[in-house]
């Protein structure tokens, strides 16, 4: 009963938060200086022409009218057309999002595996040289400045050694040939993913490794590990069967939340690797006053994060029966 009440309360909270955010963003964009017309720096365009364009885009309406339209359109699932692309923003987001999710979720999963693996080793050898070195390596990788590291990696592997493409998500030369099959296309995308994945994993495995290591140390201190030792199990068995599975829970939670945030993409990664994702699109929309696109993307991100927070809460209650509300 209490749990049901708790979840109901959470759902109501989520809806309220979402509407507050929606209104907040609307106000932000309404009062933000600049408009899509100002980007058209053509001296032959007169102020009358500019005003006409503003009125055509509906930007001259008073605040409340626009807010009413915005709320009405939201419930109709209509987010308007991008000022710059002229296409419905849903379509733009739908185009870019799969690319972003492909790259970023893969990188999160891969780096979580790497982090769990290394965290297990370092925690098991706590205080030894391998632990110190491992921790320092993780920290150093984690603190690399992403664009800097990414450009260097492109320069070395893409240009000097030349094993991998310099950027982009696919080889146009291959894709324009009608006879190219799906397998070849999939492999091609995979091949283009190598460098950005490598960069993202290097930078992100550190945080997972540190979480895993701490969590391992905590579990090692628990009574049941002592029991296992008393039973005469080997070190390897204790580590693999008893410590590691229990210790990976916090990593899994953290991965869950990162996955939700992966819909943000990463503007820097996407720019440097020419990856056609949502992150750069958002920066573009925000800095060029493409309100419909920016608003819809922000709302979308909020929904995903809110819902996944909620899911993590639910999952937690099932995983850990000790949690009570």
């Amino acid at each position: 009963m209490t749990m049901k009440y708790f979840f109901l309360k959470r759902i109501v909270e989520i809806i309220v938060i979402f509407f507050v955010i929606m209104t907040l963003f609307f106000l932000l964009f309404h009062f933000a200086p600049g408009d899509p017309v100002s980007r058209m720096v053509d001296p032959s365009m007169t102020h009358e022409d500019a005003a006409y364009m503003i009125s055509q885009l509906g930007l001259d309406q008073p605040l409340f009218t626009r807010y009413g339209i915005y709320i009405k359109n939201f419930f109709q699932g209509n987010f308007g057309n991008s000022f710059h692309y002229g296409e419905p923003v849903i379509q733009i987001i739908g185009d870019r999002l799969p690319n972003t999710i492909l790259l970023f979720t893969t990188s999160i999963v891969l780096s979580a595996f790497a982090g769990i693996f290394l965290g297990r080793i370092t925690a098991w050898h706590k205080g030894k040289l391998i632990d110190t070195l491992g921790t320092i390596l993780a920290l150093v990788c984690h603190t690399l400045f992403l664009p800097w590291a990414a450009l260097l990696i492109i320069w070395v592997f893409g240009y000097q050694i030349g094993w991998f493409p310099l950027g982009g998500i696919l080889s146009p030369e291959l894709w324009i040939q009608p006879e190219t099959g799906y397998v070849a296309k999939a492999l091609d995308v995979l091949y283009h993913m190598v460098l950005p994945l490598f960069t993202l994993c290097i930078i992100h495995f550190g945080s997972y490794m540190l979480i895993m290591r701490s969590s391992m140390l905590e579990v090692i201190g628990e009574d049941y590990i002592l029991t296992a030792r008393a039973k005469g199990l080997s070190n390897r068995q204790i580590c693999n069967r008893h410590v590691a599975p229990n210790a990976s829970l916090p990593v899994v939670t953290s991965v869950g939340l990162s996955l939700a945030f992966s819909v943000n993409g990463g503007a820097l990664t996407e720019i440097i690797f020419s990856w056609p994702g949502i992150g750069r699109e958002l920066i573009f929309a925000v800095t060029n006053n493409d309100y419909p696109l920016a608003l819809a993307s922000f709302l979308f991100i909020s929904i995903v994060v809110l819902v996944s927070n909620f899911i993590v809460d639910i999952v937690y209650t099932y995983l850990d029966p000790r949690i009570q509300y």
Partner: protein
């Protein structure tokens, strides 16, 4: 000789234990903490040293000093230890100034977000009920916003990008995490007998909050400060690199932006490497200190994910 050494060791040990408490001593035993502190001291010295080059000659001014004999990117030389950028400005003095700016941005943004987060967290945890719900939901809301994008949006609002605007914006978006942890700490402290005792003795809410609860959550707040410093430094660097920094201020992010945007990225390694390495090392040093502090303060806190 040997005697003198022991004496010195003793003296140092005494100083550490008496003046700075056992924490520092622990730092010294923990290799990660030790290296973190050493690195940080190096950067501190760099920041201090940044005041000197412009005094030697105006051409060493990091922003406006131009070597009259140079009109292009030049490699390291005796009068320019790290070489010069495309306008003939000294890269070494830019690097030193970068350290100062990094400290300034990191510490002030972190300090502000910590102060705000601690206040909110304590208030929420202590008062409970409606205020708690309101404050925490506000924190949730800010946590789910994409920080970089909202900072960009707000900076277009303010229009003029200065380093202090950036600091303020970073502070505004980095408090909720602190507030959450401080709140849960406050919740557990609130149940302790000494709080009840204070209340019975007639202490006001204000007094209980600041005299009894604050000292107990302060170490945690300080620990968070180390993480916030790094996130502020990185966020400033990212903003600068994307071209939304304050061009009137020489930060490492700006240096990287200049080398990138002017097309010298792969032509001038002496320009590309130092700022990149410095950003990594300074964040590294704060992380290391944070890790070491964490082990002293509360082994249960390890679940806190490093933010980026």
């Amino acid at each position: 000789m040997a005697l003198k050494k022991t004496y010195l060791q003793q003296a140092r040990h005494r100083w550490l234990s008496v003046k700075a408490g056992p924490y520092l001593a622990f730092f010294w035993q923990n290799p990660i903490g030790k290296w973190g502190v050493l690195l940080l001291i190096t950067f501190g010295l760099m920041a201090l040293a940044s005041f000197f080059p412009p005094l030697i000659d105006p051409m060493y001014h990091p922003m406006t000093g131009v070597d009259p004999n140079i009109s292009n990117v030049t490699p390291p030389a005796w009068n320019h230890w790290l070489g010069t950028d495309y306008m003939g400005r000294d890269l070494f003095s830019q690097l030193l100034t970068g350290a100062r700016v990094a400290f300034m941005v990191g510490v002030s943004a972190a300090f502000m977000s910590i102060v705000f987060g601690t206040l909110v967290g304590m208030t929420a945890g202590y008062s409970g009920k409606l205020i708690d719900t309101l404050l925490m939901r506000a924190a949730d809301m800010i946590m789910l916003l994409p920080t970089l994008l909202v900072v960009l949006l707000l900076s277009s609002f303010i229009g003029q990008l200065s380093i202090w605007t950036i600091v303020m914006l970073i502070a505004v978006f980095r408090w909720p995490g602190v507030a959450r942890v401080i709140r849960s700490q406050t919740l557990s402290i609130k149940e302790k007998p000494f709080i009840d005792a204070a209340r019975v003795a007639g202490a006001s809410h204000f007094r209980i909050l600041f005299r009894h609860i604050l000292p107990n959550v302060l170490p945690m707040a300080l620990l968070f400060m180390t993480f916030r410093v790094t996130s502020a430094i990185i966020l400033e660097a990212v903003l600068a690199f994307l071209g939304f920094g304050d061009p009137g201020t020489v930060s490492w992010g700006m240096m990287l932006q200049w080398v990138w945007k002017t097309g010298n990225m792969f032509q001038a390694p002496y320009w590309l490497f130092p700022p990149g390495i410095c950003i990594s090392l300074i964040t590294l040093s704060f992380y290391m200190i944070g890790r070491a502090m964490e082990e002293i303060l509360d082994p249960r806190l390890r679940k806190e994910k490093i933010e980026d």
